[in-house]
Symmetry: D2
Subunit: 444 residues, 4 copies
């Protein structure tokens, strides 16, 4: 198998002195046989095979975990932690664990929080962090360091890193942030700085590729149940009642999909990966008409990125982009709500009809991580620390098939985890909701 398997190599700092891992002396780690991860330990990216086609090349990633030797003298480490982009449950846990892990496991004593995202590197004062200060942060939603979008000024950021003397930088953020991290890594390499750069993908949408899932996602799916449940009650308590819930998911519908499958109250789930249309044969209105006739009410879940291509846009809306460079989304929930009302008014002017629209976005993303995500954030943070201390740089940690691995930063920044609508899971959604296959209908 070895010859068929290509290992994704990681950049590493060079010219640094190798030294014994201080865990060696740590009474809690009692490093026994098999404790340290060897360079030859890998995690396979693909665990499902068709045995009849075994000649396909396979990809493996270096396994995450403590190495027998590290490249930093702990007392010389000066670490920076920054959070960028929107909120996501678990950010504070990741920060807390980076601080506690660096401090307790490796004896690092200089750890700084960069406030308010990338711009904080060059425009604000860093906050000194220690285990006592961060002790209860995992119980708080949001990010105590504060965050912002944009503010990415490459030379100012690298200048600041260089001038302040940070030699480890932990960057927590979404896909835009990860692309920025790649640039920082490149520039740091170009300047030949001995600075380890690692990214920790933060996307409540779960749209990062390669890794199993992103932190905060499970918490978000859990919280989304409350909104769906309320929409269901509103719909059931009305005559021809529609409960409409918009969930996060700009380019992928994972939260909408998982929330729909976890709940059983959803009649239709609309996601970016699966186009839909309103009018005519096989369209949404026809489907809802039938569902109201049969059940008297219906619940719709729509991912924020769904339907973007069919919402009417004026010229300005075709141009506008947010600070991270993303096209400003039109509010599919608000649009659907009024489209539904207009439709009914037109078709059934004398019949009762109610649409209750719920946008729980900020109530979902601002909660603290649940137990599952808290544990995940811990493992993520510790994996990152072990990798950086071992001298790896320009990488990301994350679970692949349930095992933590190190992945080149550039690879993560380029991939996208979309809902595969030919996967059984999507079929299950459709069997749960009995919703039409808009695409087939449309094309067919």
């Amino acid at each position: 198998m070895a010859d068929l398997t290509s290992i994704r190599d990681l950049p590493s700092l060079t010219g640094l002195h190798h030294r014994r891992n201080p865990l060696e002396e740590n009474p809690f780690f009692r490093p026994s046989h098999g404790f340290y991860i060897a360079p030859s330990d890998v995690v396979l990216s693909q665990v499902v095979y068709d045995l009849s086609d075994a000649s396909k090349p396979r990809v493996a990633y270096h396994r995450a975990g403590p190495r027998r030797e590290i490249l930093y003298e702990p007392s010389s480490v000066k670490a920076a932690i920054v959070t960028c982009g929107g909120l996501c449950p678990g950010m504070n846990t990741v920060i807390r664990e980076l601080v506690v892990g660096l401090w307790e496991l490796y004896g690092v004593r200089e750890i700084y929080g960069i406030p308010a995202g990338y711009r904080g590197f060059y425009s604000m004062e860093a906050v000194e962090l220690n285990p006592k200060l961060v002790h209860n942060w995992h119980k708080r939603g949001g990010t105590v360091l504060a965050t912002s979008r944009g503010g990415f000024d490459l030379s100012k950021i690298v200048d600041a890193i260089q001038q302040t003397g940070y030699n480890q930088v932990y960057i927590i953020g979404g896909d835009g942030t990860m692309r920025g991290a790649v640039k920082i890594f490149d520039e740091v390499s170009r300047r030949k700085l001995k600075v380890g750069i690692t990214g920790i993908p933060k996307t409540v949408d779960n749209d990062v590729g390669i890794i199993d899932r992103s932190f905060g996602f499970q918490t978000a799916v859990e919280m989304a149940q409350e909104a769906i449940s309320a929409a269901h009650v509103e719909a059931e308590s009305a005559v021809n009642g529609i409960g409409l819930v918009k969930l996060m998911g700009r380019s992928t519908g994972h939260i909408a999909l998982h929330a729909t499958l976890s709940s059983r109250d959803v009649d239709c789930c609309l996601i970016p990966e699966n186009g839909f249309y309103l009018e005519g044969k096989g369209g949404l209105f026809e489907f809802l008409e039938q569902r109201l006739k049969d059940h008297g009410h219906a619940v719709l879940v729509v991912a924020e990125g769904a339907g973007q291509e069919i919402i009417p846009r004026n010229e300005a809306q075709k141009q506008e982009r947010d600070e991270s460079g993303n096209l400003v989304f039109l509010d599919v929930g608000v649009w659907l709500k009024s489209a539904l009302k207009e439709w009914w008014e037109r078709e059934h002017p004398r019949e009762l009809f109610t649409v209750k629209y719920i946008d729980p976005t900020y109530m979902i993303r601002a909660v603290p991580a649940n137990a599952t995500d808290n544990l995940y954030c811990t493992l993520l943070a510790h994996s990152s620390i072990h990798g950086v201390m071992a001298g790896y740089t320009g990488f990301v940690s994350g679970p692949i098939n349930g095992n933590y691995a190190y992945i080149p930063l550039g690879e993560v920044a380029q991939t996208k985890n979309e809902v595969n609508t030919s996967d059984p899971k999507w079929a299950w959604v459709r069997s749960v909701t009995n919703q039409p296959d808009f695409e087939t209908n449309f094309k067919g």
Copy 2:
């Protein structure tokens, strides 16, 4: 004292045969001395006195509870229950307890649910209710009977009551619904029908006068904490972050006030009873400017009825009214959000600023009642039953100074429970938030 005290008399059905309360034979009630409420038992409406001014006339209401004699033969009772208007936590508990109470305490066997509000009397089929069917309804939000606004057609409704032979009608709804109930009571009296009419005020806003509070209110205040908490996290995690939460309260700010006092994260609470303005000295913008400078973030709670007089309205908006005849409210949250953004853009074009707006209305009102409200709904329903069985009609049950009493329907329909801004509680809000007294500023 007796001569100074005026008792609010209640209408009563006449010409019916008096009979022993069947509770007399109920092993669970074991009516002992003091169990039955006598006609001379009253609840004082005013419990706070200035002793130096003791000559003021006092008002008392008949105390709620079982009477020694009732006016209905249980087997002849045909009861109707209807829910009108918007959702409120506890509606299903009230329905459940009316059904269980009538059935278990008095042996009534014909109990019907009218679907979808007033219009259900004349346009839909009633649902037969029994204890087994309603057994778990108190664990569900909304109303299983369904509800709607409007649909009040007096003669059709009373015709339907007469034709179907309902002789007890329990009406659960808001102020508009209660005014309708008064009309039904008047018309039923005019037609000399032997039909007991009782109203159970349902207003999550807690804007009913005379009674201590309306059911569902405590649950709503509890749920509002989640939204305020999320807004606080969003505001804290941003640079110059504003968390804006709109809470229910069309003409009164009780939910906003109580939610603000229960939480400690609110910087400013805007309610209908206390005007505010944006620009200039002593205005909201000046206040927020200072708060952002001091703390870096701020949380605003606004009742939906606040600021209606200062939101710019076009001609259409000056006319439009909803089905219950209420002026259609403009969305103060959406308006404030954009007004805040424009203001900052104008004043600080180059500084970061974020407003996160949360409208948790449907997530609050659709939850099941909490334990406190569940118990309250039980007492309310049972009080209503005892009153109706005793022959009272045209009345409302509710707690006055903690004791359940019967109040003439017309009196309840006419009063309004507003936040008294010269009361210490309002002062406490202002001391909690340190917010300006906009009215004084403006007038001064």
Copy 3:
């Protein structure tokens, strides 16, 4: 009426200089007409009357709230706050509001927390408190000051008060603590110290008399629902399944009663005020036998003080008392569980039977206060402050018929709020559960 009404007078500090209330200058209080409470403002203790018997003497209490004149120079105040006894939701909110209220409303700057209950006065160092420190305490369960039982050494405590120079002492605790507070008040008076003493009754059991309810009680009833719900699931999922829940309530069954009425899953509720027995006609076993035959399962709620007189005690157990001098209770839950098992084993040796016993005590009392209780704690703390600043001493604040009043400490320490089993509420429990009236059966 005045001549029939006796006002419960309050002790007051003497020989102090009267001065204007600093609220006069507080922009948030804008004291307008009717803001200050006059000495003649009272709250009636009885709001329910039998008008035919109007000659009964009535009792009134001084109304709580800010007075126009106070007796302390704020800069000379040195306040102490102490928490004694077991945990109760809301303790931290009371502490927080005492600190914030004294600081913000009256400008007091010397506020100390006494650690670990009464013994902290003379054996530990006090903690200086300020608004910033206590800012988030209302979100935490328990008491940050820590608490303990016992440790009441009168002369050591008063010596410490005298030596440290505390001139305001806020004592939060249960009935034993309140009796201690009376002794402290007496001794302080005997020594002619100018020290205001006030008690804030803390009893999750809600067993304090005169006041409407004690703080934390509503939160406890809410949390108890979870345990009852779990017991119900366990019982339903078994064959002849019994779910048994023990709830707090040493001498009164308020939590058990309210939790039973709020839930609808309870088949039998046992409280201290209503004796019960196991064997024979009309006993618990007979009742359960029937219930299992009818429904296949049953849920029992038992207050911790119920059945103490029928649990077999050995000699040691007849003597043992806890630190507060209370008789050590035998665990009625553990005893019932084994009694039930023995009974079934004896009567139905070959049939399946399961008892699942849940004791949620510490999971209930350790939670933070819910919104209702948080607001209540705020009003309680602020009422206490206003009373002490006005020079009252040896008193307790609390709501009477919904209005805050001042009650002599001795009166509160002597009364007990028991469940009145001839009240309709108890009858309602029995109609909800269909449980037997053990006492009648036994006596009859």
Copy 4:
């Protein structure tokens, strides 16, 4: 790779007619390329490799999912579902999804629930199930079918299966139940019955081998946080306060371990896989002594199976076993609580000390599954259905490295998933708690 990989073959029913999967005609499944799982599709059991040792043989399992051909005529299927053993969050979801999946996906119309575990096959009447009946079951804790321990009578069970004509049997239960399922499978094979037997491992302890985790586990870890949090509050609010929480885990400490890692309030976590001792150098008392000296309080989490070998047992206790044949466990929580009190009383007779012991077992296992577990139960149930319909028998479904696979029943029944105390996760617990390595100390 193929030659090094051994595939775990599955038993299959024989002599049945192959037919097209009815999903072929199901509009929701629109089976496209890659939809069906081929017999050559496998899931690797090991995803982590040491590349330098690539010659090790590998194990693979057949991938779960729909097959192109099935062996049952849907109208001839008569399916039985049974739940055995203790409660676990998600049981009702699994039942619901088996019913809905068989009905909606394959058109099966005869589905029966066996009440009260194995004994229900031969001693009770089965309940007919359909999608409408089970519609809301996933929102309820426990098992609506009811469950019991023991009652395994092989010949009676197989006789009943044969006589009733069940040809698909879905068995949900723990390790004892799975061993029973193996026997049923063997006996059914011996009798040459055409009955598909599948097991769905239910163990809140997560002690099943091979699969990633068992359903309900994540919910249990989440709920355990509440108990730990309460214990922490109790400990913090006392002087020398110990909060002691017993969590589920008879032979494995997964819940205790995960709950400890998710929370950050635990000072010491005791699990069955890691022996501990109380007295002397390196023992628990020494550790707690120090922790109380340093922090004033401590939180202990103990898995129910921990310390069984050091709790003193009398002769009877050495013999007693439960209905499933498991040794009756002594209550480690009750024992530890009293051992701690005795120790302190002995060592520090005059110092305050408090142990608050919480056993949240029934409050944890009786809750409904959270969103993550609900989704997992759905996938599990659907995987099982696809396997049985395809003719596999004597197997179990479950995720291996995140992908659903079919595993021979016997293999699952024989393996045990223990906490690997030489794994970094265990080291992380110890770094979180700073607890001693009792085993090393003891041996060393």
